[in-house]
Structures are given as C-alpha cells and as structure tokens.
Amino acid sequence: MRVLSTTKFTMLRLVRNYIGLLLLLIVPIVMLTIFSLILSGMTNEEGNPYFNETALTMVLTFQLFGGSSVMHYLNYDLFTLNRERMFVAPFNRTMYALSIMIFGSIFSVLLGIVLMIYSQYVLGMVWNNWAWTIYLITLMSVLSSIVCVIFTCVVKKFKLAGRLSEIYGVGFVMLAGLFFPMPQNAVFDFLGSYGNPLTLSIGAVRAGGNGNWAEAWLQANIVLAAIVTLFLVMIVVGRKRLK
C-alpha cells in the first residue's frame, strides 16, 4: 500500500496548516468563549442553559467548512501543481484522493472533538451524549468533504469551486435561520428542516438528548443517505476528472 505511506504526511500538512487551524479551531474557540460570556446564566423554557444549544450549533456549523482543506489538497496534488508528478507516480490516485478525503474528515472531526472538550472542561457546559454527538459530527464532516470534492471535480475553475464551497457553508447556515428568520414558504421550510444537513444534525443530537431516539435516528439517517448518494455521485464525477 503505497498510499498508506503518504497518510502520515497528509496528517502533517493538515496539522501545520496554520491558517486553517486559525479559522477552524481558534476562531470557534474564541467565539464559543464569547458566546459563553454573553449567554452565561441564561436558560431556555426547559431550563437548559441557552449556551448548550449555541455550542452544539457552533460545533456542527464549523463542520460545514471542514472540507475546504481537503479541497485545497486535492486541487493542488491532483489537478494543478503536482498533477504531472502524481500522474506518473506508480500508485493509485483514486485511493490517494480517498485517503486525503478520509484524513481531512478525521482531522475535522478531531477539531470538533477538541471544541467539545474545550466547551465541557473550560466553559463548563455538559454534553449529554458524547458518542452520539461525535457520530453526527463525523457525518457532517464526511458530507462536507464529499461536497467539496464534488465541487472540485465538477467545476473547472478552482476559485469558483472555493466560492461554491463557501456558499454551501454559509448558505446552509442562513437557510437554517441562524442569522435571521427565513421567509415562510414550502421551499424555505424544507431547506430549513429536513433539507438541511445542519438542522438535521442539530435536530438529531437534540432528539437524542431528549431520549427521542426514533426521531434522532431518522434525522441522522437522512444525512447518512445524503452522504451515500453524494458519495456515488462523487465517484462518478471523480473518475471522470481523474482520468
């Protein structure tokens, strides 16, 4: 497995990508801290701290952007600067692409877990169900990676692909109604609930916390289904592009 020998370096690249770390780790940490300061002592109707909800949203929201580094590496290694070198190298490029994707996702999940740890042990909030939350984080991060890979493969201009991935992230946050309420009609309702991975995963964690496991699994599985579908799409477009 020649691809395996590259994984160490993929990981190193991710860890040393300081700008990425700044945006996906430091910024959320600062924001969590600020939110915890702002919302300290406030509770919602059920008596849970308001901050819990926010922290959950934040952790999952940042997963939406987790695919960007995967995208950059893929573009750099397989489509632009390193393209020729990789092309003549005697190893399986599809597997390499996949390994970048997997490690990018794992890294993103790790960042998410760091955020959870930070909010629990420093900011003093309590995560009800770690395993279930991490599962959802993983789903979100994989989804984001897949979406980004699809963008990279489908759109010729990388800059445009980058913009699209930002729109994917910001768009779903907006559609979830986190900035301001969305207009009330069927399309926006759907995109603000079952058509939105962010709301779905938030809903799944929330339902899991309330003990409503049927609902929780339903919502999580919708995300999973989206992942499976998009994964197939990704393989089709990816093969086309890698040839």
Binding site: L23, M31, I34, L37, I38, G41, R163
Partner: protein
Amino acid sequence: MTIFYFTLKRSFGSLTNLIFLTLAPIACIFFPAGEAWPALPYGYQYFGIIILFVAIRLTQIIIEDRARGVIKRLSVAPIRYFHYLSQNLFAYFVILILQCAIVIVGGLLRGQELYQPFALFTLYLSFSFTALAIALAWISIFRNKDIAFLVYMSLIFLMVLMGGIMMPLEMFPDLMKRIAVILPTFWFAEGLNWVVYGRQTSNFMLINGVLWLYTLVFLVLGSTRKMQ
C-alpha cells in the same frame, strides 16, 4: 486623477467583484424584517457587515499593488504616496457611496420601514469610511492577500458579534457591554438604534463623530508606505 480613474476601473474589472459589489447591496434590500429585534429590517441591520467585507475586498487592490511591485514603481514616479493612497481611498469611497445609495433608495422604493432614511444614509457613509480605514490598517500588516482576507473575515465576525450588530446588546452581561464600546461596530449599532428611536440630533452627531475618530486613527495607522 489617473490613479482614481484606474482604481475604479480595476475594482469593477473582474466579474466576481462586479457581482459582489452590486448584488450584495441589492440582496440587502430584500431581506425580511425581524420580529422583536432588530427594529430595522435584517438587511439594513446587517448592511454594516457587508460594508466591512466590501471595504476589505476593495483594499485588496493596495495589497496586490504591493505584492506586484507597483508601489515600488510608483515610488520612483513623480507622485507622492499620499496621492496614491488618497485617490485609491476616494475611489473606494465613491463605490461605497453608490452602494449605500442603492440600499437606501431601493429600500424606500420597496417600502421598507427605514424610519429616518437620510440619517441612516449618513450613518452608512460614516461607517463606510471607518471600515475602509480599518481595512487599510489591516492590510498594512499582511503580505499575502488571501491570508489577510481570511483572518479579517473571522475578525469581522467577532467584531460584529461583540459590537451588538448580530445580537442585541441588552442580552450581554455588563462586562461584555463595556468591552463592546471599544469596537467601532458598537457605535454603528448605536447609530442604528438612534435611527429608530433617537430624538436628539446631537447624539447622532456624536455617534458619527466617534466613527470619524476611528477613521482617523486607523487611517494614520494604515497610511505607512510599505514596499513589500
């Protein structure tokens, strides 16, 4: 006026910029109104954020000039750095004025409740210049425009959040409320509040004055000539 003219031309040069510069304010017009908060429609509450983004986007030209060596070239030309800077800033300001005008006029045409449109326009203008000055100071620290932009994005988010544009300040604990005052975004939010509830013109003048003070400070900080 060569530099002014060409800065305008370059700002509208690329398609993405064109879309960004025209669509962003137009989109703002169509944002819905909030229920309890904010009193202004969301688009008008959040237009400050857009101004901040537009400002850093526009000032990219300066950082590009620096990276490409145009500044070096100009420093050998019979022209002072002050001219270069002022004409650039003037061009950006013209663009921002246009955007503000689009937002206000569009809102009036669409029948959005803007309370005191003229005051709102003034506030936007003042804040535009503050945003430009901040962006100018910001890019003077960086060499790479992408990094400058990305880091600034997170900074904007924090400023906006802590300054009370995204969440009402009343929710904040005392300490946060006091820290908020340091940020220019707080004064912008104050201004928005005044547009809705304010009566005393002197207060509004004061708010604008503070924004102009910020502008001066950041202009001074950002006006250093850097070659690389």
